[in-house]
Every structure is written in C-alpha cells, then in structure tokens.
C-alpha cells in the first residue's frame, strides 16, 4: 500500500499524540493513580503504535508497542507508577520525537533501534508486572475492559450494541416501527486495528446501511464517529425491512472492517439495560463529585466501572468541528480581504471627494454597509488565523521538569492564559524567545534551595508564565521569584566589556543598565552552562520579538525576582492607524502605539540639554520634529499651534510633531521589498483609497 499520501496526516497526528502524551505523563507524575490519565496515555500510545505500523515505521512501532504494554500493566494495577518509570517514559517520548523529526525530513524513521529504552521498558514489565508475556497481555487487556462494563454484564462477548442508550423518543420510534412489521437491529461494527481512516470506514458503513434502512442511533454519536472519537468499534441501531444478515453483510463488505455482529433490538431488554446504564451514570456522577476522595481510595471494583463510563462523557465537551486548512490558503484569503479593504477605502475616498447631492444618501448608506461588512470579514479571517498560544506553551512544563533535574533546583511552573489567541505566524515564532526567557529564569533567576532558605523563601522556586490580551496587544509575562537582576554586576560587566564607560555608568538609571542585557553578546552568568549563559540569549529574544513588531521589557528587584514582559500585536497584516500629514506627504502611525493627541503652543516647548521637550501633565516628553527626521522636502512654515502625537514605547513617551491630522483608518500593511529596507523609521507601506502609497512610521524606532 502506498502510504506516502498519508504522511502529512501521520506527522500532524503523531505530533498531537506526542504532545498529548507529554502533558498526560506530566499529570501522571503529579497524580500517579489517576485512571483517566492512564487511560488517555494508553489510548495515545495505542494510536501511535497503530499509525506507525500502518506507515511501516517498524522501530517506532516496536517502541510504542512496549510503552503500550507497560501502560496496559499500569492500567491493570500490576505496576505502580514510580519516578523511574516516568523518566523512562519521557526518554521514550524523546526517542519518538527523534523518529518523527527524521520522518519529517526524509520520510524515513532512521536506524536508531533505541535498544536500551526497550530493554528498560521490558525490565519494568518483568520486574513488577505479573510476568505475563506482553504479547498475550496486550490483546487481553481491552477485552477485559470490555467485559468489565457494568451495563453489558448480561450481553455476550463484544455485542456492544446492547449498551446503546435508548431514549424515550427513540424507544417510541422503535415500538412504532416494530408494530409496522419492520425489523429493528442493533449492530456493532469492529474496524481493523490497522485501519488509519476509521472515520472514513465508518462513513462507508453508514452509507451502506442507509441503503437498506434508516439508522436511528449510533454509539458513539455520529458526530464523534465523524471526528474519529472512537476506538475500534461502534454500534448502531437500524430500522430496516431487510434481514439481519443483509445488514451485517453490508457492513462487512466495507474494506478494513473486521467484523460486524448484531441482533434484534428487544425494547424491554434495551430499556432495562438503559436503566442500569442510568444508574451507573448516576454512580459515576457521584463519584465524579467526590473525585479527590475517590481517587486515593478507589476500590478495585468500582474504578473500572467508572472508567468505562467516563471516557465518552469526558471526551464530548471538547469536541469541536474542525477542518485542517493549509496556512497558504489562509494567507491568500487574507490577501484578498486586504485587496477588498483597499478597494473599499478607495470607494470611500471617492464618495467623500465627489460632490454628491442628498439624493445619493442611499448610495452612501450602501458604502457604509460595505464598510461594516469588510470590517467584519477582516475580523473573521483574522480569527480564523488566530490560534491559541497553548500549542507553544504545552512543551514548557516538560522543559521545566527536565531543567529541574539538570540544574538540581526545585521549581514549579505556573501558566495561565493558554487560551489567549495570537496570529498563527506570531505563535510559530514566539516559542524560542519564550523558551529563552524561561531557561533564563530557571538558570539565572532562581537561587539554589540553600540560598532560598537563607532569604526566607520557600524551597521550591516559582516561575510564572501568564498570557493575556490587552486591547490590540497580547501580553506574555514570564516572572520568577528568584534572585532578580544584580544591577551592580551588570554595570561591572558592561564596563569590563567596554559597552559603557565608568562615567556613563554613573549617570545611568538602574533601568537603563538592565536594558544593557538586551545588547548582543552580553551574558552575566558567572558560569557558562548548557542551559543558558552563552551570551546569545536576550539579544536574540529582543530581535525576534521586534521582528514580530512586538517589544520586550524587564522589571526586576534584586533578591525578589524579575518579570519579563513581551507585548505583541494581535495581527501583522491589517491595523488601525492614524493618518497624518508632514509637509505634503502622508504617513500612517499605528493606533496601538499612540497614547494621546495634543495641541501645544510654541511657548510650551522647553529646551533640556538642547533638546526640545514639553511638560505634559507632569511628565517631560521629548519632541521629535517629523519633518526634520524624515527630511521632508517641502516643509511648512508654521508659527502657530502645533499638533503633537504622543507615542509610547514601553514606559517611554515621545511627542511627534506633525503638520495635520487626517483621521483614523484601517490600513493594510505591505512590505516594501528588499531594496528599501534600510530606512529604520519606516516599518512598511500601505495603499490609500486614492491608490497612493503612504508609509507607516515605526514609532518604536523613532523614540
């Protein structure tokens, strides 16, 4: 079978499963007896094995097979989860990731058999398991679980259709159909273990059965089946004129279907089973409510029962209908929307210029309507491109755990705001800078346990990562309760490295000195470790974030910890901007960087160190005459009042003197290409309604 066409799906899904495993194993480490987690891990390992097997990645399959065996034993309570097991599992995940990386690059899993890991897994199996051969144990496990299902106690082996919960309305339909002489069958269809497109097979089964009759019910629900939210079997209730054999044959005719079993639905039994089911559900409910107590003291019998019930119930709420879309398609959609907005802008500018009589109000109304539609369209497309930052943050708990072992420090990572959404392109890029900052906090920030004790801090250091939206920006903060930045040490180092002179150092504020850390090749770590301290950290963080039109700043207090703040724009393609005129040229200033607009008189301008400033409500703000900075050829003579746009960059403010304000406008950011990238005050260009190009001022670079 040629599986190359599935390679992309395989890579995507494997990545998701691995990430899932990482998260779940971390959870398992915290709560070693959580059956939900163990089941989830088992399921993920099982899917991984299946997928790797179908794709012909034997080594990957072997490793996941052994992992699955271990979990099967854990699930059966034969192996207790211990620290060394978790360590081995993490190593397995790393090995799997290596396979995946290799597959990504060459479509081949490589030649590393990971013998030691497999050996370790087997040792765990034999030393603490009940000695059963893994091959026998593995297929036995799911069967055991099935028979443990409480409601199916009366049913024969594998006839899961009898467990389908039948509601009142369905029961009446069945009764009616039966009274009309129709047959009502319950059928359970088993899909082959090796099948990769289970949902597609299920769909074919549905289609085949629907030719014979009507499908009344399915378990799991049709939606879940479509989303592949089922293991290897699903059950349906079908109303048909045909015989049971016809239905089963129709099911089994679909390829990759292992078998189908079924029988006539007897309403009395079904309802009875259903009520048992309901009871079980109630039991589960109460169990759920008492989870903390339950988990620690779970009696061996009730645990599997609860587990069987919980799985479908827990899976449902997270299900969303989704489609995977190539990011390029989204980009082209975004471009089209941009074009539309430009066209809309030009219509708006035509109507505002043209002297339209009042009879044209209808026309104006339509223009306004168009405006609101394009704005909404833009927002929708933007939202489509937005992904939760979670995908990046997920890997950090694992990283901190590894660092903890490596550095021999105790630390705990607390994350909030994983659901905060950012443009896909930003999310892709933000991982590395965040990793740098976290490593920094773990390595330089947090002190060793002894020092922490001396300082009266808890032995376990805290690292917080908080993400939240603030207007048109997303803020990500990385903070620790560690050492903080030693300003004197930074100062000394800076002088040592000739970054600043001792005289300069005297006049610098603490904040300015701390900002030196963002300069290239500046590391204060006394020792270079392989975690951080090679001097390529913070400047990379800074340049990467600035490349995303964001900014990074730090607040610190020596001895108490530091907070790194990253501020990112929500989107990079279309922004709200203030249009201004300088000389006879138009410029756009991103609304996000504007603090206020002020009218000032020439008398308000004061000179400090020969630089123009104004005193605005108590704060002294430097002024920038844009016509000078931008070398505008036709400067206007203006001796009257001045218009000042106050822009901010972090805590810093500056006043930009412009000649005229045009107004707020939605603009589409266009790159100017590689030929004109040298002008640092310009961050891009945009096309105005009249087709003219206006440049976008980079307020950050001006300050």
């Amino acid at each position: 079978m040629d599986v190359s066409q599935y390679l992309e799906i395989f890579i995507d899904e494997t990545q998701e499963h691995l990430q899932n495993l990482n998260t779940q194993i971390l959870e398992l480490e915290q709560d070693t007896e959580n059956m939900d987690t163990i089941n989830e891990i088992f399921r993920a390992a099982h899917s991984l094995k299946g997928m790797a097997g179908t794709m012909g990645y034997k080594r990957m399959q072997n490793l996941t097979h052994d992992m699955e065996n271990v979990f099967s034993e854990v699930r059966n309570g034969n192996i207790k989860v211990k620290a060394n097991l978790i360590d081995v599992l993490f190593q397995c995940l790393d090995a799997l990731e290596e396979y995946l990386d290799s597959i990504k690059e060459t479509a081949d899993e490589g030649t590393n058999d990971n013998e030691p890991l497999i050996k370790q897994l087997n040792e765990i199996l034999t030393s603490k398991g009940e000695g059963g051969a893994p091959e026998e144990k593995q297929p036995a496990a799911p069967a055991e679980e099935k028979s443990a299902a409480p409601a199916a106690a009366s049913s024969g082996d594998g006839e899961k259709w009898q467990e389908i919960p039948i509601g009142d309305s369905e029961a009446s339909v069945i009764a009616q159909a039966q009274s009309q002489g129709m047959n009502v069958f319950g059928v359970t269809v088993y899909v082959q273990d090796t099948c990769i497109l289970k949902a597609a097979r299920a769909f074919l089964v549905f289609k085949a059965v629907e030719e014979l009759g009507q499908i009344l019910l399915s378990n799991p629900s049709a939606q879940d089946i479509e989303d592949e939210k089922f293991e290897n079997d699903f059950s349906i209730v079908v109303i048909t004129e045909k015989s049971l054999d016809d239905v089963i044959k129709a099911c089994e005719n679909v390829s990759e279907i292992q078998k189908a079993v079924g029988g006539a639905v007897n309403l009395d039994n079904a309802v009875a089973a259903d009520s048992v089911k309901e009871e079980a559900e109630e039991v589960k409910e109460t169990e759920k409510a008492e989870v903390p107590v339950e988990v620690s003291a779970a009696p061996a019998e009730s645990a599997p029962a609860a587990k069987q019930e919980k799985k479908p119930a827990a899976a449902k709420p997270v299900v969303n209908r989704t489609v995977r879309v190539d990011i390029e398609k989204l980009d082209s959609l975004m471009n089209l929307v941009s074009e539309l907005i430009i066209a809309k802008n030009s219509l708006v500018s035509i109507t505002s210029n043209a002297d339209l009589g009042h009879e044209d109000t209808a026309f104006n109304e339509q223009i306004e309507y168009l405006e609101s539609v394009t704005t909404n369209l833009h927002e929708s497309v933007m939202k489509v491109r937005m992904v939760p930052i979670e995908s990046v943050l997920q890997k950090f708990p694992r990283m901190i755990r590894d660092l903890q072992k490596k550095l021999g420090k105790q630390m705990e990572l607390y994350m909030t705001g994983e659901e905060t959404e950012l443009d896909r392109t930003v999310v892709d890029e933000i991982g590395d800078p965040l990793m740098h900052l976290l490593r920094n906090s773990a390595d330089h920030g947090l002190e060793s346990a002894e020092v922490r004790k001396e300082r009266g801090k808890p032995a376990v250091g805290e690292i917080h990562l908080d993400a939240y939206q603030d207007g048109n920006n997303v803020i990500i903060e990385v903070s620790d309760d560690g050492n903080g930045i030693d300003v004197e040490a930074v100062k000394k180092k800076a002088i040592e490295r000739n970054v600043i002179t001792p005289e300069q150092a005297e006049n610098m504020s603490d904040k300015e000195i701390v900002d030196l850390l963002f300069l290239p090749s500046f590391s204060t770590a006394k020792q270079v470790t392989d975690v951080s301290g090679r001097g390529v950290g913070l400047d990379v963080v800074k340049s990467k974030i600035e490349a995303l039109s964001g900014e990074v700043s730090v607040k610190t207090k020596y001895g108490e910890g530091s907070t790194w703040t990253i501020r990112l724009p929500l989107t990079l393609a279309i922004i709200q901007a203030l249009m201004v005129v300088v000389g006879d040229e138009k410029y756009a200033i991103a609304l996000g960087s504007i603090e206020t607009l002020e009218d000032i008189t020439p008398q308000d301008i004061k000179l400090v160190e020969n630089k123009e400033v104004i005193n605005l409500r108590g704060s002294v703000i430097p002024l920038i005459r844009l016509d000078d900075v931008l070398q505008v050829p036709n400067k206007r003579e203006n001796n009257g009042d001045l218009v000042v746009v106050i822009v901010k960059k972090g805590d810093k403010l500056a006043g930009l003197i412009v000649d005229e304000l045009i107004g707020q406008q939605e603009i589409v950011i266009k790159s100017m290409g590689k030929f004109i990238s040298k002008c640092k005050f310009i961050s891009g260009a945009t096309i105005l309604g009249d087709g003219e190009v206006a440049l976008i001022l980079d307020a950050n670079a001006l300050i």
Binding site: F681, E692, L695
Partner: protein, 164 residues
Amino acid sequence: MDALKVNNKVQMNEDGYSEPVIVQFIVVKIGEEQYGINIKYIENIVRMQHITRVPQVPAYLKGVINLRGEVIPVMSLRLKMGLPEDVETKASRIIIIKMEQHGNIGLMVDEVKEVVNLEEDQIEKVSYGSRENSESFILGIGKYEGGLISLLDLNVTVLDRENV
C-alpha cells in the same frame, strides 16, 4: 576571451534557446544613450505615476509606487549612473524588473523605443578587465541597424555593490 565564451554558452543554455541564439531586448533611452534590457527580466512597463518618497535612502531610490496593490520601489537609472536628475515627460516610463532574490523593482527611463532581436554575433561582450575599473553597468554592446545599444547588466545596475 575563452572564459567569456564559456560563460556565454552557459547563459544561453539556461535561456533554453537553440541555435541560432537570439535574445530579445527592449531598447530604452536614458539621456542621449540607448540601453537594452533583456526582456526576460521585464515584468511590466508602466507610465509615470506618483512616487511616494522614502526618507533616508540613497538618492537614486526615488521611492515606492502602487502597482495593482503591490508596493514596488522605484530607482532612477539617471541618478544611479551619475546623470542629471530625471525630467518627467510624456514619454517617461517605469520598467518593472523582476529580480529573483530581491523581488520587483521599477527603473525610471526617459523613453521606451522598441524591441530588438539580437543574435549572438551582434553582441560584443565587454571584457571584465575594463569593468572592474570603471562604474560600468553594461555587460555588452549590441549592434543593431547601424546603431549601438548598451546592454544593461541588471545585477550590477539594480543591486548595490555590497549586495552583489
């Protein structure tokens, strides 16, 4: 000269021409001189339009224009070659050149005259020795109907020295 011949052959092969090798050039006028631009680099020829000035760039970069929704930088060939500043006339055009690595760029010319087909033997290569010394933007001279056409080396013309 041998090195040149080899170079020549390779280039022609890349163009996918079979014998006899014919290259098409668009002939433009800059000042009093006629220049030829290899047609395969030309994306478009547009009339003069409003150019938005960009601050703090070399003078020969006149600014950017909007070409059907794309922002494209425009360069003055006159200023790049050290000639007096362009005087905009009805005949002035911007030739949009497509540079593989660097995207599109517009070149301002005084006039676009015609398209010519030049065979290999009508092109006289400029030797490398002379190119190193002077600020030369041409890779050869084309002889066509008695006139001479300087064939522009776009890599040298468009890209800055440090970028080449």
